[in-house]
């Protein structure tokens, strides 16, 4: 098999070389981190007051973990390590409690991230002759713009179409002779069902590859995508706390994702004890970013469950491979590629006076896409006997949810005490999607 390399020297560097780079960059990162109020405190706990205190990679484990809550509490500038004049990009995610998280990038940070992405895309065989249709959402989400930059760096012709409007997506694939897609797996399956409606046949398209990401999916889903579309589909992994897409990516062998160890230090821990698991065991992925100055990130707990392969990949890359994400250690749901915490829904429905205290969140597959239903109980004293009042209430809840969580849910109104209440911690999420 032809194995293309964007940077063969780094991608095939031996372990001691990689570790030398990691140590050097970790020390540099600790130096940047010490400029932020948040990490000054964290590092003081670990008795680290200077990069010189980091003598070996093992010293990383002295540093306390960073969590999503830390990012929220320190919003908006607690992790900013450079002067605003050196910031060229801000990405943000909506938070579960109304407090968002933010990541700043310097010019060099964007270049580093883009270079990692170029490495990812090139390793699948994508090259400058390709036409790249970026079907991920742009905006504050890193998936759209991040990949856009990486694809341009490779020299592909980038179509920044963004998400949605399926018929237009299909016509665009045909008109511009798109060869490579970046898309969530569920949306890619859905698009296939709309070909006929768009009056476009698969033979009219010259698609070769798809980069699928932003939501966990099984090997079976990949096989289905590859079969119905007759393309190669490559899994990808990333999160904005660690720049965005491109932390790990599959090469032409498609046997799980090389995690770029010159850019990130990966640890797999037992989520209960925080201790490292044995080599090859599964646990929570913890990542340290070695290539971002404006918002340093040390030992970030991703809440994603996965494992690292211990055997080498036939492609010759030395960077270890991360398995598919097998689950989460928190209650976060991923619905059509969008992250959703049940608390985000709770926050919206609980501020509507006509809604009583109980609610249920139900997720199921409708065709290939995820569908979200929010069931609420109405508050009897505010019932005026009028169906149009209830329709209006339903419309209001739907609209408020839509603006808070981006997704468009179906809202169901129920009588008080009609929804099941479980003892103790209420079980409010019913996920009916088939388990992989």
């Amino acid at each position: 098999m032809d194995v293309p390399f964007w940077n063969r020297e780094i991608e095939t560097a031996d372990r001691s070389r990689l570790e030398t780079i990691q140590l050097e960059r970790l020390r540099e990162t600790v130096g940047w981190a010490l400029k932020t109020p948040f990490y000054q405190k964290q590092l003081r706990q670990a008795k680290i007051s200077s990069p010189d205190n980091i003598r070996s990679l093992a010293d990383l484990r002295k540093i306390p973990f960073t969590t999503k809550d830390d990012l929220r509490i320190n919003f908006p500038r607690g992790l900013l390590a450079v002067d605003m004049k050196d910031v060229v990009r801000i990405h943000s995610s909506s938070g579960t409690t109304g407090i968002p998280t933010v990541i700043y990038y310097s010019k060099e940070d964007i270049e580093n991230w883009t270079d990692m992405l170029a490495r990812c895309l090139f390793s699948t065989g994508a090259a400058s002759a390709d036409v790249f249709q970026n079907m991920m959402t742009y905006g504050m989400f890193t998936g759209g713009l991040g990949m856009h930059y990486g694809a341009e760096k490779v020299g592909m012709a980038v179509i920044p179409i963004g998400g949605g409007n399926t018929k237009r997506q299909i016509k665009t694939m045909r008109d511009f002779r798109t060869t490579v897609l970046h898309i969530t797996p569920s949306y890619l399956l859905h698009v296939h069902t709309k070909l006929e409606e768009a009056e476009v046949k698969r033979e009219d398209l010259v698609l070769k590859k798809a980069f699928t990401g932003a939501e966990p999916h099984s090997e079976d889903i990949r096989k289905k995508i590859e079969r119905i579309w007759n393309i190669d589909a490559y899994n990808s992994y990333g999160l904005s706390e660690l720049n965005g897409p491109g932390v790990a990516f599959e090469c032409v062998y498609k046997n799980d994702m090389h995690l770029w160890e010159d850019g990130y230090i990966v640890e797999i821990i037992d989520p209960e004890t925080g201790e490292q698991v044995r080599d090859g065991d599964s646990g929570e992925v913890v990542l340290t970013n070695l290539i971002r100055r404006a918002t340093p990130m040390l030992r970030y707990r991703t809440r994603d469950l996965a494992y690292l392969h211990t055997d080498p990949c036939p492609c010759g890359r030395t960077h270890r491979r991360l398995s598919r994400i097998m689950g989460r250690t928190d209650d976060m749901l991923i619905i059509n590629g969008i992250n959703l915490f049940p608390s985000q829904i709770e926050e919206v429905v609980m501020r509507i006076p006509e809604v009583a205290t109980n609610y249920i969140i139900q997720v199921e597959k409708r065709g290939d896409l995820d569908h979200l239903t929010v069931k609420v109980e109405i508050y009897p004293k505010l019932f005026l006997g009028d169906p149009s009042q209830l329709e209006a209430l339903k419309g209001r809840i739907t609209e408020e949810l839509r603006s808070a969580i981006i997704l468009h849910p179906t809202v169901e109104l129920h009588e008080p005490n009609a929804l099941p209440v479980s003892e103790g911690k209420a079980k409010r999420v019913i996920d009916l999607r088939p388990k992989e």
């Binding site: 109405i378 006997g385 169906p387 209830l390 169901e412 109104l413 009588e415």
Partner: protein, 143 residues
Amino acid sequence: MKLTQISVFLENRKGRLYEVCSLLGKTGINIRALTIAETESFGVLRIVVDKSDLAIKTLKANNFVANLTDVVAIEVGDKPGGLAEILKVFADSDINVEYMYGFVEKFSDNALLVFRFEDTDKAAKILADKGVKVVTRREIEGL
């Protein structure tokens, strides 16, 4: 002059309407008129019963979401054009009908219809002025 209508919220669940009717039946309450306003995901049952105070108390005690609304029941000639005749009175007097439905039974040669008006008091006054026969609470209870 005015009658009490009971509205009951019904979530979209098999047997829910049966449960309301069966509860009223067991309590000895007779339904005089009914209609269901439905949407794709829920319904609102509207009823006029012989013992409305008892009915609302019973429904609430059994955790139904229920509410009272003023309506007017009118006798309409049971013949072609009978309804049109009465609607003309409303149209001429600028009275808005929100909704209407028929009785289950009748106690004269006339048909009985329940009307919900935008402005019940105004409608009641016009009806009295025009000498339209309306059904009293006493009549409903003894029907």
